[in-house]
Symmetry: C2
Subunit: 415 residues, 2 copies
Amino acid sequence: MEQIRSAEILCVGTELLLGDIVNTNAALMAERLAAFGIPVYRQTVVGDNPARLRTALEEAYSRADTVFLSGGLGPTCDDLTKETVAEYFGLPLYLDEESLERIKKYFSDIGRRMPDNNIKQAMIPEGAMIFRNDWGTAPAICIEKDRKTAILLPGPPVEIEQIWFNRVEPYLHLRSGSVIRSKNVHILNMGESAVEEVLRDMMLAGGDLTVAPYAKDGEVRVRVSARAADENTADALCDKAIEKIRETEVGSFIYGIDVGSAENALLIKLRAAGETLAVAESCTGGLLAKRITDIAGCSDVFAGGCVTYSNEAKMRLLGVKHDTLDKHTAVSAETAAEMARGVRLALGTSMGLATTGYAGPGGGTPEDPVGTVYVAVSTAEGERVKRLSMSPLRSRAYIRYSAATQALGLGLGLK
Amino acid sequence: MEQIRSAEILCVGTELLLGDIVNTNAALMAERLAAFGIPVYRQTVVGDNPARLRTALEEAYSRADTVFLSGGLGPTCDDLTKETVAEYFGLPLYLDEESLERIKKYFSDIGRRMPDNNIKQAMIPEGAMIFRNDWGTAPAICIEKDRKTAILLPGPPVEIEQIWFNRVEPYLHLRSGSVIRSKNVHILNMGESAVEEVLRDMMLAGGDLTVAPYAKDGEVRVRVSARAADENTADALCDKAIEKIRETEVGSFIYGIDVGSAENALLIKLRAAGETLAVAESCTGGLLAKRITDIAGCSDVFAGGCVTYSNEAKMRLLGVKHDTLDKHTAVSAETAAEMARGVRLALGTSMGLATTGYAGPGGGTPEDPVGTVYVAVSTAEGERVKRLSMSPLRSRAYIRYSAATQALGLGLGLK
C-alpha cells in the first residue's frame, strides 16, 4: 500500500456519547498521528449503533484514505465495530484459532475460564492483519482494501496505548517507507512563547525534522521528530537538533530528554548519585509525594514525606520553630527552609523538598496573595528557597501542580 | 422555540485535532445533555478552519436541530467559530457595548489593559442571545433561527463549566417547558452489575424519572433525574426515588447524596461532628492526602499526614513497632492498624486513616499478591482494618486510587 495521505479518527462507544468517560483515545491517536505528519482533519464519536457507525465510516472515507477506529471490539452483543467495518469492506469473518488460544490463555492466566462470549473477539475479517493484543482480549485489526485502510483498536485506554506503540507505529513506519522518531525535551521556567521565539528558525525549517513546543501544566515540552530511512539515522537527526537547542538560551532550562516528568527526572538523578529523598508539603498537600510514588520502583530513592497542613503538624513532625511561624508565618521562605531541612533530618535522607503557600481560592495576604508559594530544597550543603508568584486567577489545581513541579525543579538544580 | 428533539456536539480547535489536549468539554456537554434526556448521536471535532467547520455544521444540522459548539471564541485571528456560525445563519455581527465593558472590566480587575484583539470577543450576531461569561472574556452565544439552535461556548474548561451550569441549563429548562433535576447517589463496596440488578425495575420504569448507575474508579454512582413543571416537584420526585433506593439492599452501601466524592463526604461528616483527621500512607504514597487537600477549605478538619514509604519512616514518624514489621511485614493488618493509630496520636486528631499494600506492578508475596492492600481507621474507640484484594491485572493507578477510596470508606463507617 502507498503512503497514508490523510486519516480520520472514529471513536465508537455509547459511554462516550453519554459523557460517562472522557475520550483520551482520540487525544492519543491524534497526538501520535501528528508526530507522524499524517494530517487528521476530523474526529468523530458515534455510539454502539451499526447504522450510524456505517454512515460515519462512509463519510470518513469520502474525506480520508485511512480511518483509525477505537472501541466496540468487546465480547458483548453491543460491540459491533468489527462486524460493521467488515461489512463495509465486504469481508466475511472467520474464527482465528491463534487469537482464540491467546484469549483462552489470557483468562487461564488470571485463574478464570473464558466465557463463551469472548469467542466473538477471535473472529477476524478475511485478509485482515492481526495486531496481537498482549494487554487484553480483543485483537486489534488492520484492513487494507480498495486503497482504503481501517485500523480497529480496542477501547480500554491501557490496551490501546500498548497496541498503538507496539503494533500500530511499526506498521505506520512500514507504510511510510520511512521511520519517524520523536524525542521530548523537557523545559522548566521558560515560557512557551519565549521558547518559540528562540527556536523559531528550527520550527519553520521544515524538511525531515520538526520541532514543536507544547505548554502543559506550567512546563514546556519541545517535541523533536525526525523522519529517515532507518531508526539510527532518525535518532541521530533528533540528537543533533537537541544539541542545537542546548546551545541556545533554552539550554539552561532543560531538565531532561524523554524523562516523562520532573518527578521521574529527579528520581533518575538521585538514584544515579545514590541519594535519597523526603518531602514536606503544606499547600501541595500530598500531591508531590503522590507524583513521586506514581512511579513504580521509586522506593529505592523515596523514603516518604509529611503533609503538614496545620502549624501544629509543621512543628510536631518537622520541628519547624514556633518562633519562625510566629515571626514569618507558615507561608514564608523561612518556614519552607525549615520544613525541607526538617523532613530531611526526620527521615534521614540526603535531600528534602518542601512547599508552603496559598493555593486558593481563599486565603492569602496583601504581600503574599493567592498564588504565592515558597518551595525549598535542603541538602547537607544547606537550604535553597524560591518564591513563586502565580496569578491568583489560576485554579487551585494548577497552583498546587506547578508548586510541586517547582519543588522538583529545585531538586533538579534548576534556577 | 419548541423543544429540542436532538442535538450534536461540535468542538472546534486545532489543539484537539493535534491531540495536545483531551476533549473534556465534549464529555461535560454529553453527560448533561443525557441528563436532560436530549438525544446526542454524534460528537465531532474539527480544527480552527472555517471551511471545514462550515461543512461539519451543515452536516450536523442535517441530523439534529440543535448544535452545541465549544472553542474558537478567543481573541486571535484563528478563532473563527462565531464568524462561521453567524455566516451560516446569515447574521451580521455588531459590537455589543455591554460585553465590551465587561471584558474591559475583566482586564482592569487583574490590573491589565484590554488588548485591542479582545474587542473581537464583544462582536455578537444580530438577534442572538448573550450568555454572560463571568469567568473569562468571551461571552457565550445562543442563536435561534429557522427552527435551528446554535449554542456557542468558550473552549477553556473552567469557563464552559460555569457557563453551562449557570446559563445554558436555565435556558434548556425554559426550552423544555419543564425542569430537570438530577441527584447523585454515591455507593461504595457494591458492584455496578449488583446495583443494576437491584434497581432494574426503577431503571426500566421510564416516564419522568430516570435512574442510571455508572461505575468509575471502583465506585458506583446512581444518577437519579426527574422531569417536572418546577424545581420543587422535580426535587421531590428525586428524593422519593432516593428513599426507595435506600430501602433496597443498596441502601447500606450509600455514603452520600451529591457529595461529589468520598473525601468530601468524609470532610463534611467530620466537620459536622467537630472532628479532625490525619492520614498515614504507604502504598497510596500521598494520594489520599492529595485528594483530601484538593478540596479548598479542608484545613479545619485535615491536620496532615505522613507518607511512610520505607519501614524506617513508618517507625520514625508513626511509631510502628520494629517487632510488628518483623513479624507481620509492612503489608499486614497489624502494621495498618499501628499506622492509623500512630498518625492519629502524632498529629493529635480524632481520626487516623492508613493504607499499606502492594500497588504493583512489582512486589507482593504468594499470600499477599499485587493488589493486596490493608486499610485502617483509628479513633479513640480503637482500630478497624479491612483487607482489599484487587486483581493484580489492575493498574498501579487504579489500585492506589481504590485503596485511598476504601480508607475513606472506613472513615465514613462503611463496611
